[in-house]
Symmetry: C2
Subunit: 314 residues, 2 copies
């Protein structure tokens, strides 16, 4: 089952169920995805039973599947990315075996084709291609094994970042606020079964194709997370209940062979350049730049649809 | 004008306007505080015009004035507190002239008398007495001077903290997630004019009386913030729009003469003990412990009412 949200002038939009070919949709029996998640056990069967899709899906009306959420917690679960980022940001964080996670702004998720407003080109505007999950209500203290059943939907995210602010904010110990403006989401939130055996061990084992201004920039696979999403959910729920609709991200998708397959963010490439040549050569994004991101199954399908948007001056 | 929210079985409760003596209330012309904040210019005059308070205010029905918010950003604006905390947490963060700020869980604010659920007594359960503000919509890039007019309400907050987790999370650079469970709010959100000249330069110049298990623990005044709330709001809005209903906290209220007047959190007292005697002697909270917090005007009034609640095992 694939779900999308169409703009209707309200902050949460209107929920639709998307046809298998992604070109049509049907109204959902609840108005919003947030409401569906709050009563998932009751609503999901009705959503899944829909087999007629009478309405054409207008790409221009697509909002993020969850246009705002009560909570957004982002991990950094790819070790090959983390090591490079420490280099490029100039930080030497203490090592931990626990998942890394910060809380980010959740009152806005950009739709897949929205212009992304940034205040200043000199702040190191960067994309971060990620996968994410949306949970129903998760009680405090839920184990990783039990958390798997709370993962109701999988999404694809661009975690916009301002790199010039990221290092200084890390060094305060308080984490990121200014360095992390709102994220974007790809058109469709999908149930894990849509990913077949490419959803395994709490990991989204798809290639994430990232194109910057029409050129392939990265094609990392989501599999090698150091902690699976169920472990990230359990980490988040250790000392708090998670409300239905909480979104949890993987952090930038990265593979150890990034020199061959590329990266899901500019900062990682810059880190490689620093390691290889002593200096970062790839500049960050400029106003007017576009980024496209599409998770691809082994059979070529793109279950989340594509993020394809440009950066503009706020 | 003082506003409160009564439980009615919904997550956002129902908004009421509170009588000057705090014992009675009147229904508001909008259902929730969130909705009032989204249309503040239109709603505030109607709220302020209410002068008859036909309903007794039942303390047992009090929720947090804003029971959940789209965003909670907490500062650390008292220098005397920050220096001690670095010692007690064993961190040496890089100094900055910018405000310190992290994003915390906002989907739940405990009501003033709610039991506070904690998973484990060994995690260093601590209170943090703070003041906070609630803004209407603040556009990205708003200056500190312009931010002052967006501060629509002032609140009093207990930012619950788990100190055993705080230092390790700071050292990752990602900031706090597990160390910061949901906060509590005192009964009444008040317009700045309710504080008279004790609201000045974006600061809540009230004594915050903190009692732990019936004993006075602290009585710091809110005035000596290194950055005023308007500066915290501008900091938060540098790279994002703030949606109406965003809550921004001061961080633990602290004064340089903390040896005489006490502290608004246990960790600060422990820091003093470390400095003075080489070791922390005051233990953190136990299940069943109570904390009471009440901001007091020079004339003795308590405009926010009091937080008075106990910690229980989750």
């Amino acid at each position: 089952m694939r779900l999308a949200t169409l703009r209707n002038g309200t902050p949460d939009g209107v929920l639709v169920v998307v046809s298998p070919d992604g070109t049509a949709c049907a109204p959902a029996p609840v108005p919003t995805l947030q409401q569906a998640l709050e009563q998932w056990a009751a609503v999901a069967p009705a959503l899944g039973a829909i087999s007629a899709f009478p309405l054409p899906l207008d790409p221009d009306r697509l909002a993020a599947p969850l246009p705002r959420a009560w909570q957004w917690l982002d991990g950094s679960a790819y070790a090959s990315h983390g090591a490079l980022m420490d280099k490029v940001l100039g930080v030497t964080p203490v090592k931990t075996d626990l998942p890394l996670m910060y809380q980010g702004v959740s009152d806005t998720f950009y739709g897949p084709h929205d212009d992304v407003r940034m205040p200043d080109e000199t702040l190191g505007i960067d994309f971060e291609g990620e996968f994410g999950v949306i949970v129903d209500a998760v009680p405090m203290g839920t184990t990783a094994a039990a958390a798997l059943a709370h993962i109701r939907l999988v999404v694809q995210i661009n975690d916009w970042s301002l790199r010039a602010l990221a290092g200084p904010e890390m060094k305060t110990g308080f984490g990121w606020v200014q360095a992390k403006p709102p994220c974007s989401m790809a058109p469709f939130a999908v149930t894990p079964d849509e990913l077949g055996d490419q959803w395994r061990d709490g990991r989204v084992c798809l290639d994430l194709l990232v194109d910057w201004n029409g050129r392939r920039f990265g094609a990392a696979n989501g599999e090698p997370m150091g902690h699976g999403f169920h472990e990230l959910v359990a980490h988040a729920a250790r000392t708090r209940d998670l409300v239905a609709g909480t979104v949890i991200g993987s952090g930038t998708v990265s593979n150890p062979n990034f020199r061959e397959i590329g990266s899901s963010c500019i900062a990682e490439r810059r880190g490689i350049e620093v390691v290889d040549t002593g200096e970062a050569r790839t500049a960050f994004m400029r106003f007017g730049d576009r980024v496209r991101m599409e998770g691809r199954m082994a059979d070529g399908r793109a279950p989340f649809g594509a993020i394809d948007q440009q950066v503009v001056r706020a």
